[in-house]
């Protein structure tokens, strides 16, 4: 299973995107599905780097891409403190512009762009986020 480790820096987002794009195309996803994977992984990685790892606790981010008979499974591992995505409410976007709040869009996008999103934490392996995109 193609796996790459990246240091948790925002400058690595483009490299992460190049890696998952190659795997998504190899798994036979069309361009619309490839964009969905690019965006979901970018949002997930950005959240890990910005909210999980803070300046004082930088760490790595490991990404695995596993082709499935019906699509691509992407798994992100990190050792940032645990978080519970279900605790973060969906953003409210049907409000006047001045009431729009910049919160929770990343997780909302991941759920909207992918067919499945699962999160798991354990003390040995840290955070594991698994996302499936079907063809």
């Amino acid at each position: 299973m193609p796996t790459r480790k990246f240091s948790g820096k925002l400058e690595n987002l483009e490299k992460i995107c190049v890696f998952v794009t190659r795997q998504a195309r190899a798994a036979g996803l069309d361009e619309r599905q490839v964009y969905a994977v690019q965006l979901a992984v970018d949002e997930a990685a950005t959240n890990i780097i910005e909210h999980g790892y803070r300046e004082s606790t930088r760490g790595d981010l490991q990404i695995s891409c596993e082709p499935q008979t019906d699509g691509l499974r992407v798994t992100l591992h990190d050792h940032a403190p645990p978080f519970e995505p279900d605790d973060i409410p969906d953003p409210v976007t049907d409000v006047p512009l001045d009431k729009l709040k910049s919160r929770g869009l990343g997780i909302f996008l991941m759920r909207k762009m992918m067919d499945e999103v699962h999160y798991h934490f354990d003390l040995n392996h840290g955070n594991t986020l698994t996302m499936l995109k079907k063809r």
């Binding site: 483009e14 965006l39 970018d42 910049s102």
Partner: protein, 109 residues
């Protein structure tokens, strides 16, 4: 991040290329702020060469729109289909006028 701005009679056009993500969205935000500080509130973001935009980029555009309105507005031109689809999917497409090409966007002011 390479950002170009072009001043027109009724608006300013800002253009960049490639990706807008968490690493470079603040640069775009700074440039947009500079335009507004010059007293220009009609802005066109030419996205013809932008092929990826993460939510960090959208928030920069939302903040800019908040600062432009009601004196003017930020409009988007030549938005990539994938970007437009994801913007609409989360319901944020309604906050911007989107034009098929730069000429129509500039002409709208």
């Amino acid at each position: 991040m390479n950002i170009q701005t072009t001043e027109h009679k009724r608006c300013t056009v800002i253009k960049t290329s490639g990706r807008v993500d968490g690493s470079n969205a603040p640069d775009l935000g700074k440039e947009l702020k500079t335009i507004i500080e010059k007293g220009v509130f009609n802005i066109v973001f030419d996205m013809s060469d932008v092929n990826f935009m993460a939510s960090a980029g959208w928030w920069v555009l939302i903040d800019t729109q908040k600062n432009c309105k009601p004196r003017g507005e930020l409009v988007l031109a030549a938005v990539d289909k994938g970007i437009k689809d994801s913007l609409n999917l989360v319901g944020m497409g309604t906050y911007f006028k989107i034009f098929d090409d730069l000429i129509s966007a500039v002409g709208s002011f």
